[in-house]
């Protein structure tokens, strides 16, 4: 048994020792502190909950800035209750959008006010229209963006704060922007955030950094809305399983007592 264990360990160590030497082309992003624990980093904060204020500010950034180009098709206005909005506020937010519905009894499409059950209104009617309006490539849907990118929330922050002038000798093609965090460094999106670009209701100073962190928190929630329920249930399940394992170990000892 011990020999076998050391054998397996030796195998793992051999591979692990070799691993760091590989040439890595993947980008590393500075790690931020997240009260929810990063969605894409395992075991980062097992008690983590979302910062409600940051979520609301982040939603404001999405609503006032990002949503001009980026859809969030998987979310509905009713989901916003998780951000701390009450039913009246959600109804008001939804009613701020005109939704195309139908066909009615005459076979015509018609426009009505949004309701909480509606999905977030997309800026473009379809992907082709989005691509046509944005130089040939549709801006990605943001519903799952935090889980769909290596680096998750930290990538979003790095990207939002990564716009700068290209280093000497680096030619940025027309229609592109230099961003140090984007793979390949040329991104079609112009810098979306600016200091004071939004005005937060809670008085938080709207620096680019602040907006980036808030919108990343919001997008993390959008990608993983059940994170809090998961953390809470996980704690109970882990405690239960550890207790059960303890009892079974005692039972095992009792059964085997006369055999050792």
């Amino acid at each position: 048994m011990r020999r076998l264990r050391s054998l397996i360990l030796a195998g793992l160590v051999a591979v692990a020792a070799a691993a760091p030497a590989v040439a890595s082309e993947e980008m590393e992003y500075p790690k931020n502190e997240w009260s929810h624990g990063a969605v894409t980093r395992g075991f980062s904060n097992i008690f983590g909950t979302f910062d409600r204020k940051a979520l609301q500010r982040g939603f404001q950034v999405y609503k006032e800035v990002c949503s001009a180009c980026h859809s969030m098709n998987l979310l509905s206005y009713r989901n916003l209750s998780a951000l701390g909005y009450n039913e009246a506020e959600i109804t008001a937010i939804a009613a701020g959008y005109d939704m195309t519905d139908g066909p009615n009894d005459e076979g015509e499409m018609f426009t009505r006010k949004g309701v909480p059950a509606d999905h977030f209104k997309a800026p473009f009617p379809n992907e082709k229209a989005a691509a046509a309006a944005n130089g040939g490539k549709a801006p990605p849907d943001l519903s799952l963006i935090v889980k769909a990118r290596k680096g998750g929330e930290d990538y979003i922050v790095a990207l939002m704060t990564g716009f700068e002038t290209a280093p000497a000798g680096f030619t940025v093609p027309s229609g592109g922007n230099y961003n140090k965090a984007f793979p390949g460094h040329v991104i079609a999106m112009p810098p979306p955030l600016s200091d004071g670009g939004v005005t937060f209701a809670d008085g938080t100073k709207a620096t680019v950094e602040q907006q980036a962190k808030d919108v990343a928190t919001f997008l993390a929630w959008a990608a993983e809305p059940n994170l809090e329920a998961r953390h809470q249930m996980g704690l109970k399940v882990m405690i239960f399983l550890i207790v059960l394992a303890g009892i079974l170990y005692a039972a095992k000892r009792a059964v085997w007592a006369d055999q050792h």
Binding site: R78, P116, A251, A257
Partner: protein, 190 residues
């Protein structure tokens, strides 16, 4: 895991145990089995509950209906939770025939006033209480049965202008869904 409970009963090994005090040992087996059973039972719940209506289904559980375009004597059918709801703008005669009934003679005694929040509007779920067919009577050309309400073609149940069962096999009146008047001419069902 549950078989640990049987330990005390049979199994050739169990009788000859010398380790520890027997009552303490039995307690451990019992604790293990009980904890395991509780864990298994609790684990079942998420799987069962996942079959209940999901959040998006519940979000669509109420329907708003604009009554303004419905003329006197006309009926409309709207969809609510995937079921047809009959809304009839009743004529004075229909209201009269619905209220002039000796309630105690009915199979499912119910006063018309308990079934219609405003006498001119009758809102009922359009599903026959017998076996779930959709009764006829929404169009003026439909057969409505001898009580002027609805007639179910499946097994001949006849409903009156208040949606109450009058003849045929159905046991109960057409169900009145929960609804409320938001304005004089619009209702929210559900």
């Amino acid at each position: 895991m549950a078989d640990t409970t049987q330990t005390a009963g049979h199994g050739p090994g169990s009788g000859s145990h010398s380790g520890g005090d027997p009552s303490r040992r039995d307690f451990i087996y019992l604790a293990a089995a009980a904890t395991g059973v509780v864990g298994a039972a609790v684990t079942v719940w998420p799987f069962i509950d996942s079959l209940n209506p999901a959040a998006d289904t519940l979000a669509l559980a109420s329907t708003d209906v604009d009554l303004a375009p419905v003329q006197v004597g006309q009926s409309i059918t709207v969809t609510w939770r995937g079921k047809p709801v009959f809304i009839r703008h009743r004529t004075p005669e229909e209201i009269k025939s619905a209220t002039d009934v000796n309630v105690s003679e009915l199979r499912d005694p119910q006063k018309d006033a308990d079934r219609a929040k405003k006498p001119e509007w009758l809102v009922v779920v359009g599903i026959c209480t017998h076996l779930g067919c959709i009764p006829l009577g929404q169009k003026n050309s439909d057969p409505r049965g001898e009580y002027g309400g609805w007639f179910c073609p499946c097994h001949g149940s006849v409903y009156d202008t208040s949606g109450r069962i009058r003849k045929g096999p159905a046991p109960r009146n057409l169900e009145v869904p929960g609804y409320a008047f938001k304005t004089d001419t619009s209702i929210r069902i559900g």
